[in-house]
Amino acid sequence: MAVIATAIPVLPGSAHGRVLRLAQPISFWGGVDPHTGTITDAQSEASGADIAGRVLCLPATRGSSSSSAVLLELLHRRNAPVAIVLGEIDAILGLGIIVAREMGWPTIPLLTLPAAAIAALPQDVPVTIRENGEIAVEDESGG
């Protein structure tokens, strides 16, 4: 395994999944189907893509006070990303994860990483997120 980036674990945890990297911010409320995890925002470059099971990486979110409710619903339905890496902290999104933990539902790590480093993450490649915030790839796909 090769560490390709070290993010700040805001809500630490480990995870493994393929990177889904967005260049533009999305809003969870109104931009993501809370049942399925499909990106419904017609203006997003990833419109129609599925965030469920992915390591979702994006420079920022378009803040909505209901993004916590949408992420909680995705976690409840097991259709959430396996980890979220943001360029800047969105505490309301993190709130959805905290409430899921209080409910005894599966939770996911939330990390922050500078937007430039997010832009360098390899699209679609499987990565491992570690408790300490390290993002690692298998050596052969690490380049």
């Binding site: 409710a69 339905r77 309301i92």
Partner: protein, 422 residues
């Protein structure tokens, strides 16, 4: 834990005051840590935005708090739900969703929340004092609370609001801190024609422009005469600014409580930037409030009013313009049960219904499926409806004054007086 907690707070975390209060404080503490707060503050009241159904998870969470014997520690009002429990206006949700939405609205009441179900709690008797720290959700309520009442709140996300109510605490960050309430930029309105500022239609347009221009910065407007700045106009301005941008606080020199002068609003240091607003800039913002171009007399399918929820005065203005004429297309007036009760006392509910108005209480047409199925175009005088109608309902919206909305309602054809802008 990096947060500096009091003895009472540590005891509450250890569930000395029950499981629900412990859960609530844990949620507040963790959010505070994410936000980089150093301590918590005690809050005087809460307005909960989290009672709108987005899926079963929210209902299950609130019912868990009820099961754990949660009780709000401060006066707490509720924002809109997904159903009209007060007037029974029909909502096109499937039976399971309806049941879960109803359970959610009921569970919040069992926690001790007031069943206000309005996005204008500040017109339903919930008016914190200037300088008080509160925890409010719903962007228009937040901006009104900060700007017009001078109380202090951040925009609280779903479930942090009820958590704050159950433990009486919130993170000490953002607009709770006086230095973050300083106006960083000034917007000079003095070049605008006075007759524009005397029209209700001006305020959502101004708000919509402001939100796009300043994002989440704190602006101070100058040059608006105090006598034209009525509460309903400030409500419309704030709601539009908080939907086109992320404005949580604005000042108006000589009008709002923290801005007797521009200098007070900027806390003694000159603003970093001053924007001189022209009528042409506003007219461009006005055009952006319609999601399609509509020719005069084109058929139109509905009229949507009341975002934020209509006040009694706004209902009276509608009646004065309608003059007893009957609408040819559906007209929705969204309001709170506090207004419905007054309308009934005054005999005005039946007058509105005689004009063909559907009164929608406890909810509104962009947060739950109420418009006829399929696609259509509606006219609205609300900057917030203009912003959310297309993404939330698939309908197009055109923006006009209340008078334009009434004339369109009675003919069923698009009618708008653009003479103010020529």
């Amino acid at each position: 834990m990096p947060l500096d907690l009091t003895e009472t707070e540590r005891a509450m975390l250890a569930r000395a005051e029950g499981a629900a209060a412990g859960t609530a404080l844990r949620i507040v503490v963790e959010t505070a840590a994410m936000l980089g707060a150093k301590r918590l503050i005690e809050i005087a009241s809460v307005h909960v935005d989290g009672c709108l159904y987005h899926g079963d998870s929210g209902t299950l969470f609130v019912e868990k708090l009820v099961e754990d014997r949660g009780a709000v520690r401060v006066p707490t009002t509720l924002n809109v739900g997904a159903l009209d429990l007060a007037c029974g206006a029909p909502v096109r949700l499937a039976p399971h969703e309806k049941e879960m939405a109803r359970r959610m609205m009921q569970a919040y009441q069992r926690l001790g929340c007031t069943p206000s179900f309005t996005c204008a709690p500040y017109q339903a008797g919930h008016r914190p004092a200037r300088g008080q720290d509160v925890a409010w959700g719903e962007s228009n309520a937040v901006v009104f609370c900060n700007s017009v009442l001078g109380a202090r709140t951040n925009r609280y996300g779903d479930y942090l609001d009820i958590a704050a109510a159950l433990c009486g605490r919130a993170p000490q960050v953002g607009l709770h801190l006086p230095e973050n309430r300083r106006a960083a930029l000034a917007v000079d309105l003095s070049a605008l024609p006075a007759r524009l500022m005397e029209e209700d239609v001006f305020y959502p347009i101004l708000g919509s422009w402001l939100g796009r221009e300043v994002g989440s910065a704190v602006p101070c407007l100058t040059g608006l005469p105090a006598d034209v700045a009525t509460e309903d106009r400030l409500k419309a301005l704030g709601a539009a600014a908080a939907s086109s941008g992320a404005v949580g606080l604005f000042h108006i020199a000589g009008v709002t409580p923290e801005a007797s002068t521009l200098e007070e609003a900027t806390q003694g240091t000159p603003p970093e930037r001053t924007i001189h607003l022209s009528a042409a800039m506003l007219d461009a913002a006005r055009r952006k409030l319609s999601t399609r171009d509509l020719a005069p007399d084109a058929p139109i399918q509905a009229v949507a009013l009341g975002s934020p929820h209509f006040s009694l005065a706004e209902c009276r203005s509608f009646l004065a313009l309608a003059k007893g004429r009957h609408a040819r297309i559906p007209v929705y007036i969204c309001t709170g049960r506090h207004v419905v009760a007054r309308l009934e006392e005054l005999g005005l509910r039946s007058e509105l219904e005689a004009c063909g108005v559907t009164i929608v209480a406890d909810t509104c047409i962009v947060v739950t499926p109420m418009l006829p199925d399929g696609h259509g175009t509606l006219i609205t005088n609300s900057g917030k409806f203009a912003h959310y109608t297309l993404p939330n309902t698939g309908w197009d919206a055109v923006y006009g004054s209340l008078g334009d909305c009434v004339e369109t309602a009675v003919t069923g054809r698009f009618s708008r007086d653009d003479s103010l802008w020529l």
